[in-house]
Each structure stands twice: as structure tokens, then as C-alpha cells.
Assembly symmetry: C2
Homo-oligomer: 613 residues x 2
């Protein structure tokens, strides 16, 4: 391809909002342009690399037997109402009404569409497993889109969905997807951190996120210095400071030696810090109790304190009824923080947030600052695991200016539910090996997830098993964001001059730069193009009438892996030569045309093949 | 690919709404499924053929130097407001508001997006021509989507846009697109009728539609029995029964011999038929006058009767102001009909329709049925060309129960504008050669169109020419509907058993059917698959445990061009053989494995290459 026949509007300037390298370089190299906030157009150079990422993903999906399909981008709202996500998804879901008043969503993900497709076709266990994927346009109505295509509103995602007769089959495909993801990212030249959300034990639920380290990452990762444990803070666990089982027994025994529960005056003392000073103790001897409001709670609350019969009923699918709003008290050791993502997961709630002051007063019977688990019976009390190891603690007494001391778990209070809801932080101990955990910021590129029966039961997908009995398939979903993957490659592979593409995702393999495109130089360049293209390489010939320096800068900016410079002087020598340089190298080498072509062709073909192994 | 490892849910039944062959066959062969009214999902078999059509289009666009880009599917509403189409497009435009209140459209076409992209990059004539295209999701909010993917709401279109410094360059690319379209449709095995909307003379405006004949086509085509004239009825012309120039002179002279205009009583006579009986004359001696309401009129009306200063002004781009609503009287010979599409084109209006009775009464001063061009001065009078040849006509007298007779053009009335707005019909004379015209129903698959300065001027796209002067680029647009093209291939290539794919768009080239997939038959089939795939052919091996009849029917339904049947009996003969049949042939032939592979490979490769010539 001749530069003059393509459309690569390179720029020196960058827009003010381009704060990360990939955004700056994609813009400057003419890969993308902004249509409006969060909406980007790929220009020819950008689209070439985009398609290469797309094709790597397609090859790896096909290789594990996943079948490509193409549903629409607009999905009937009815399907989202069936699954319940029409209500439970927040405002990031773009809802549209057409001229006839029918509801649609602009797909942010496609569990409903695929479940509906399969529902209408599935009858027998013989059809399972069903492994399907699409590579298609998605939309998320981000309030603050930024960082270029890294967090845009419209983007392209590969999303795969699998349907299985049993957990063994689901686990097999889940593992195959995980291996495919590792190959995909390796072929793209990306260093990813696979973050397991739980043990992923066969048959159990499982979830793995594929992260790249990034300063602007919206995920906090906890990694172990001693083993390969890695987790998103939203799910990270750590070694308990007290072993719950041991502590529970100890607590019961120890409570005998704990002085009786005592209500004390704590006038004007509200914060744990103030109380510590007053009582001359440490924060870890406090039980901090917070009142949370949870929305769309799927956890079965029947019989819990404060339980109200929900207004909304689910169809008879065996799924417990949903509480649109419910309140909880969460008690945790005073030196720790509650992680709302972990809490939401425990409650199976779509959202949790601290309750309003008026709700706190109604629930605790006291002003804000005096909540505690002792005697609290208006809402379910959820104890963080750490609390079960506390047998002589200070906590609020549900009364203005009053606290309890000597509160002991098992003697003075218990909880409706005990769970791990603490925020793990750097310095905590690895749950696997006890090593020290440290933090990194990360961006999520992909996610594989065992969904189980959530959609197949709520949307009524069934089949007849070998014995003629009705069964629900279990389901997995597997997503990769293409735009974000592309941008992350640039984040990992660039220098101050521009991009340094790994060969499998480079827009062109070779940039040929004639000092002046005429005479013997033109002939040599044309020969190089013809021969390299015949060998299957993709070549950009910079035939522009520009200074050599401009062409060099643009080639560096675009990041094409190999550069050949042809000039009169070197071509007129006894043995005609050209300058050859890899983008990642500093100094060019003089080589014969034949030598240059042989070396480059061999290297490019080897690097293209390497990823496929 | 093994049948058991793909997902091809074939069916015997068809849904009641599938009235055309392609809809029935795409559904039955498991190519598509309906998600909701007008929204279809392509399943793996359908997507394979879809991608082949897509790749043929991509190859042909690349071959003429058009560069692929990828804007978003959601386009900022602001751009559509700039071009004026936010208002002028009807309700088929799906408008969306996001959570922040910003307006978007789900792209039905992308003139605005491409014009905006180019506007920000274009500075010099050296950058022109700019030839860009996308293959992307589109949406049209059809009220009555039907005929499967032939008229769905969401679909995929290839839309190209070109920007040029002069008409010569535009015409060159317009012609190249036209040639590319002919190659695309030929490679897809389609017989298209290219329908020129005007002479397409170099530098003039030009438009060509690529139609396929179809019973359910929403276009009426007029074709000449003697030459290759073909036109959409919306634009079709015909030889004038009176030559306007000649008749005008004749009319002036003849009017001297025409008796004076005479007002006559025509009580209770309203239709032309009734008047003909009363006056003992023919419909072609009547001037029929209709009052039309036009919306969003771009034709310059300053100074015309009834002209009102428009409320809305255009930015100073040299484009006349727009009248949001205007009324016109259209006079035409009594035996002819006004074509509203041609009328709208003359008026540059987005829509025209017959005026309401109250408006007719206000404008003509008489009840409906007495309009006529004589003395009508409340609105502009538009004369169809035919009227300028009438010198002794009957027409309404703008008074209840009164008509004029002996009305002569030039003597008793003239028009504000004369144009060709008649509906051409079968039996009319070809405007080129005078031959007889006949009608066909057609569906439009593609359209190439010289847009000129419409978007570049309204959206302010400019560049500096060689002399440093500011110029506006002239623009062309070129669209093909992919889904409709795919469905049309099936319409043209099927029989009572199923689809008969042309090789270049077949989902697989060869179907291999073992009578029972075991023993020697399995070995033979596996060898065939391996060898044919090694030769680059795409093979579907029907390894299902089904009766041979079921497999034969499915292969016929899916329309795979070649079929090989392997059975114990033929394989156990002294010379082992298999049955080979083309989908289009009636009887199979017995061939050796080697012979079958050689013949099929040669034929498939030849047919794939043929299209590329």
C-alpha cells in the first residue's frame, strides 16, 4: 500500500483530554478520531490493527469449538424484563423506545439474547453442550467516558455463552476458554494478570478476570509476594487474624472470664478514635456497626428481622422472591473497612450503600454513631468473620451517648449471617500461603464466568435428559473488550517516539521509506514491495514528497515493526544496500536488498506463527 | 466441520409469516432465527454465507482504492441537526437520548458521520479524492418489517462516501463504484437490473440503483422492450405525446383558432368521467388540477404566489431558505397521474401529499373538484409538460358547478413552473428510443449516487485549492444492503427442496454424507475431509446418527453445491467408489475417491476464481 493512497492523518499535537499513552498515540498516529464524547471512529490504520485483534480472538474461539453467531445490537426490552435486568441494571443501560412504543436496549452484553435463542431450539440433552459467541458492537452509557477507546461508550466485545447439561461439561469449557484467553493475550503481546475470584474448583462456581497493570486502572488488585494468588479487591480474601472456628469456641469459653456486659457513658464521643482515647484501647477491640441499604436483594430473607413480604413475585422457577429494598446492619472489627462489592455479593444485591441518617435513627433507635449488634432486632445483623473472634469488645449500645464494653460474641450477641465482607489491603496475609499481599491498579480486558442457572431458570430454558426428565442447562459467559485490548497493547509497547507493535497486531509489517521516490530508489522500493508482498508481508511504502525526517518520525509514531530506508548513496555503492532497522532497535544496519528481504520475511513469519503454537 | 459439532437446527415447518422463499429457506435451514419483529439473529450456517458476501464486497471496495474505516453505530444527533436531516428524516430514524440528555441516532446511513470526520482532517486539495467506506450495523424503524432479512429493522450495510475536488474526479470514482457493484453482484451469482435515474453524463448529477426482480419488490421498474432503458417509476420519463417546444408555438398559433374561453355550468358533475359523458369528449382533453401540500421545501420560492417568509433560516452557505410547509397546484392532462416522488424531487421537498379539503377550499375558493390553472393566483401553479401542448381544454373554473372550456395554454393561463411529474406506465414510449415500456417489480440491493455539495456545504467542509482559494468538495455515496443481497441470492437460486448456493457464497463447498459413520465408511469420509480441506475447500461432514434420507434432505435444504455419499456397498466394490452429485443436478454419479476429489476441487477453485476476473 502506498502512503499517498491511504488516509493516515498523523499529528504532532494531542488533544488536552488525552492523558494516557494509548489515547495520545492512537490519536497522533491517525488510528482513531473522536466523533463525540466516548464515541470514536477507527481510521484505516487503526482498523487494520483492530481487525488483527479481532481475528486472533476469532481463531482462538473457533479452535475451542465455540460457534460464531450474529444477533442484533438492539435487543428487545422484553427479554431483559424476563431476566429481571431491565430493572436491576442501572442507568448505564441505554434504553430505547421505537416509533411503535416497543422497548429495546442497545446491547451492553447479551446473556438474554443468547438465552432466548437457545431456549427456542433446545429440546434434548444430545444438543448440549452449546458453545456460541459473537463479536459485535456494544454500548455502555458511561457518565464520564475517558482515556480514548479504553473507556468509551460504544465498543466492540467478543462475548461467548455456553450451555451445559452438567457442571463437569461447564468446567471443561470454562477451562478451555481460560486457556484460549491466555493464548489470545500472548499473541497480542500482552502481559496479563489472571485474577481468580475463587478456587474455581471443578463443579463450583468460578470466575476469572484478565487484568493488565495500569496506572489509570479502575480495579485494585491484591497480589501475593510469595505465591501466585491474585484477586480483585472486590473479591479478595485474606488469612483471618482469628480463625473463626477456633475463636468461636474460645470466645464461648473465654467469655466466662470476660467481665459481664457493661453499659457506659460516652458523652460527645462518636468516632472510634475518640473512644479509643477515652477508653485507652485500640481500634481492633471495637465492633464497628454500619447500617446499609441494599437494592434488588435476591438472598432469601424470609423470617429475617424486618422482613416484609415483597411486592414483586418471581414466576415459579425455584428462585427466591426479590426484595426491592432491604436494610442490614453490618458489624466488623473497628480497624477494618466493609467492602461494598463483597457485601453486595453476599446479599445477592444489585447495589448497596450506607443508609440515610433517618433510616439509621429509625433502625437503631439512636442517633448515628451508636449502632451495635447487641440487642439489635429491627434488621438482619451481618457479622464479618472477624467479629466472631471478639470476646471483650466495645460497641454502640443503641442509645445516645452510650456504649457497651466487655461485649462477647456468642454470649452477648450473635448474627443473622456471618460472612467475609472486609476490604483486604496491602500488608494483609495471603489466604493461600500466608505471604504478604501488595496492591496494583489494573484494567480488566476479559472475564470468564460460570453463571450457573441464573438465566436459564429465570428465562425458562429447559431440555429433556437421558431419562426423559426436564433439566435446566448450566451456563457460562466469557467476554473480551477488543478496543481496550488494542489500547492496552499500545500501553505496554511504546516509547517516547511512538508505538512499537508486536508483529501479530501491527497494521503493517514493514515500512519502506525512499529518501526520494524516484529513479533507482523508486525501482529498488518497488522491488522490495513486490517481493515482500509476494511473501505474504504487509508493506507500507511512504511515497510522499516529504523530508526524510518527517517520514522517519511518522514510521516511528505508527510503530511498524520493520523499517527499510532506501537512498541514492547506499544504492549506488558497488554492492547496493539499504538501511534496515527494527522499531525496537536503536541503530540501522546496512544490508543488501536480498539480505534485508530474507531476514525480515523470516522474522515476521516466525513471529506470526509463534503465537499460534 | 462435523455436523455434530456445529449448530444447524433445520426444520420442516415454516412460520406463518414467512411468505417468500428466502425467508422460508433461511429459517428452515437454520441460517437465521427471529429475535423479535424485524430483528434476526444469524446462526452459524447463515453467518458463514453472510461473511462471504461481506468479504466479496470488501475485496471489491479495496480493489477500487476505497479505504475501510469504522465509525460508531450511534451517531451524535448534533451532526444530523447540522445537516438538517434530524428534522427532515421521518419517523424511520430511531432517535435516542442518553442518561445525560444528549441526542443520538442509531445510524440508518452515515453521510453526516463521514462528512464530519473528513471536515476535521481536510485542509488541502492534495488530500483529495478521499475514498472511504464502512461495513456496519444500520437501523431503520420500519413500521411493518417483513420478508425476513429482506426488510428488517436492523441490518448491515456497506456504505461508501467519496470526496472530490472536481466533478471529473467524482465521476471517475462513481464509474469505478458502478463497475465494482457489477462485479460484486456477479460474484454473488445475482442477476441485477442497473436502473439509471438520469443520463449520468460526466459532471452532471448521477444516480444508479441496482435492482433484482422480485414479486414482493417495493419498486416499480419501467423497462424498454427495444433498448436497455430501465428506470424506477419514481424517476421514469417517457417520450412526450406532444413535444413541448413545438406545441407551445402551435398552442399560441392554434389558440387564435380556438374559440374564446367559455365558462359553462356543470351541475353535479365532478369526476372527469362524468364530465366526459356530459361534454362528449375524452379525458385527454381535460386539465386535471390537484392541490398538494409539500413539507420541508428546499426549492427557492421567493416571489412565488402565496410565498411566506420562512420562520427558519439556514446558515449562510449559499443554500436557499427552507419552507417547512408550502402548497402548490399541479395541473396535468386528464388521462395521466401525478407521480409524487417526481413531484417531490422537482420541489426538493422531503414529502408531498394531497392537501386537505379545507386547504383546497381556501386555495381555490371553491369546493373540491373545481380547481384549474386559469386565474389561480393563491399558490404557485406547476404544469406537467403535457399541459403545455393543450390549446382547447376543459378545466375547473374555481367556482362551484362551473368549468371552463376552450382553455388554451399561453392564451388563458401559464404556470409558475413547468416540469415532468407524470407517472409513466406500461405502454408508454421509451424516452431514448421510442420503444414500448413494460413494468417489473424490483427490490433495491444497491445504490450509487452523486450527492454533490449537499452535505459539504451544509456542514461546512472546505479545503484550499491549488491557488489558495477555499473550495467545497463534491461528494458521492454508494450503498449495498448485505442481508438483502444474501436473501436475494436465495430468491434467485432455489428449488422446491431448498437453496442452491453459487460456490462463492456457499456456507460450505462440499457436504459429505456417510450412510453410517463407522468402519470403512468412516475411514473414507475422514480421508475425503482431510484431503479436500487441505486443498482449501470447506467441508461439512454429516456424522449424525440419522437416516440417510434425513441427511439428504438437510443437505438439499442447506444448498451445499457438492454432495458426496459414502456407503458400505460402493466402498466394498473392487474399485471403491462414492456417489457424487452437484446440488443442481438430478442424478448422482459413481466415482472413485480420487476422481471425486479431483473433479470437485477443480470445479470449486475455478468457480471461486471466476468471480475475481
Amino acid at each position: 500500500m502506498k502512503y499517498s493512497q491511504t488516509f493516515i492523518p498523523t499529528l504532532r499535537e494531542v488533544p488536552g483530554d488525552a492523558v494516557i499513552a494509548s489515547h495520545r498515540l492512537m490519536f497522533r498516529s491517525g488510528m482513531i478520531r473522536k466523533l463525540s464524547n466516548g464515541l470514536f471512529a477507527y481510521l484505516p490504520l487503526g482498523l487494520r490493527s483492530f481487525r488483527k485483534v479481532e481475528n486472533i480472538i476469532r481463531e482462538e474461539m473457533d479452535a475451542i469449538g465455540s460457534l460464531e453467531v450474529k444477533p442484533t445490537v438492539l435487543i428487545p426490552g422484553e427479554l431483559w424484563k424476563e431476566s429481571g435486568r431491565w430493572d436491576s441494571m442501572g442507568e448505564a443501560l441505554l434504553r430505547v423506545k421505537n416509533r411503535l412504543g416497543a422497548d429495546f436496549v442497545v446491547s451492553p452484553t447479551a446473556e438474554e439474547a443468547f438465552t432466548s435463542l437457545v431456549r427456542n431450539e433446545l429440546s434434548s440433552y444430545r444438543q448440549l453442550p452449546l458453545l456460541l459467541y459473537q463479536i459485535n458492537t456494544k454500548y455502555r452509557d458511561e457518565i464520564r467516558p475517558r482515556y480514548g477507546v479504553m473507556r468509551s461508550r460504544e465498543f466492540v466485545m467478543k462475548d461467548a455463552y455456553s450451555f451445559h447439561a452438567d457442571d463437569l461439561s461447564l468446567d471443561e469449557h470454562y477451562q478451555a476458554q481460560g486457556r484460549a484467553y491466555r493464548r489470545i493475550f500472548r499473541r497480542c503481546g500482552l502481559t496479563v494478570i489472571p485474577v481468580k475470584a475463587d478456587s474455581g474448583a471443578m463443579g463450583g462456581s468460578g470466575s476469572e478476570e484478565f487484568m493488565v497493570e495500569s496506572e489509570i486502572g479502575d480495579n485494585t488488585l491484591l497480589l501475593c509476594k510469595s505465591c501466585d494468588y491474585a484477586a480483585n479487591v472486590e473479591k479478595a480474601e485474606c488469612k483471618l487474624d482469628y480463625s473463626p472456628r477456633f475463636s468461636e469456641e474460645l470466645a464461648r469459653g473465654a467469655a466466662n472470664h470476660t467481665p459481664p456486659l457493661e453499659k457506659i457513658d460516652t458523652p460527645e464521643l462518636k468516632t472510634i478514635e475518640e473512644l479509643c482515647g477515652f477508653l485507652k484501647t485500640e481500634a481492633e477491640n471495637f465492633i464497628k456497626t454500619l447500617i446499609y441499604r441494599a437494592v434488588h436483594v435476591e438472598l432469601d430473607l424470609s423470617g429475617a428481622p424486618g422482613y416484609r413480604e415483597p411486592a414483586k413475585h418471581r414466576p415459579a422457577t425455584g428462585i427466591p422472591e426479590i426484595q426491592e429494598e432491604a436494610f442490614f446492619a453490618v458489624a466488623i472489627r473497628g480497624d477494618l473497612d466493609v467492602n461494598e462489592a463483597k457485601l453486595a455479593a453476599v446479599l445477592k444485591a444489585s447495589e448497596v450503600s450506607l443508609a440515610a441518617d433517618t433510616d439509621v435513627i429509625r433502625i437503631t433507635g439512636a442517633p448515628v454513631g451508636f449502632a451495635g449488634p447487641v440487642g439489635l432486632n429491627t434488621v438482619p445483623v451481618l457479622l464479618d468473620e472477624t467479629v466472631t473472634g471478639m470476646n471483650d469488645a466495645v460497641t454502640g449500645a443503641l442509645e445516645k451517648d452510650k456504649h457497651y464494653r466487655h461485649a462477647a460474641y456468642g454470649r452477648d450477641f450473635t448474627g443473622w449471617l456471618t460472612a467475609d465482607v472486609r476490604t483486604v489491603k496491602a500488608g494483609d496475609r495471603c489466604p493461600i500461603c500466608g505471604g504478604e499481599l501488595y496492591e496494583k491498579k489494573g484494567n480488566e480486558l476479559g472475564h470468564i464466568f460460570k453463571l450457573g442457572y441464573k438465566y436459564t431458570k429465570s428465562m425458562g430454558v429447559s431440555y429433556l435428559d437421558e431419562n426423559g426428565k426436564t433439566g435446566f442447562p448450566t451456563m457460562g459467559c466469557y467476554g473480551i473488550g477488543l478496543d481496550r485490548t488494542l489500547a492496552s497493547i499500545i500501553e505496554e509497547h511504546h516509547d517516547e517516539k511512538g508505538i512499537i507493535w508486536p508483529v501479530p497486531v501491527a497494521p503493517y509489517h514493514v515500512s519502506i521509506i525512499p529518501i526520494k521516490y524516484q529513479g533507482a530508489v523508486k525501482d529498488a522500493c518497488d522491488t522490495l514491495v513486490t517481493e515482500l508482498e509476494r511473501a505474504g508481508l504487509e508493506v507500507l511504502l511512504d511515497d510522499r514528497d516529504e523530508r526524510a525526517g518527517v517520514k522517519f518520525n511518522d514510521a516511528d509514531l505508527m510503530g511498524i515493526p520493520w523499517r527499510i530506508v532506501a537512498g541514492d548513496k547506499n544504492l549506488a555503492a558497488d554492492t547496493p544496500r539499504v538501511e534496515v532497522k527494527r522499531r525496537s532497535e536503536k541503530e540501522p544496519r546496512l544490508m543488501t536488498l536480498r539480505g534485508a528481504m530474507a531476514e525480515i520475511t523470516e522474522a515476521v513469519q516466525r513471529e506470526l506463527a509463534a503465537g499460534r503454537e
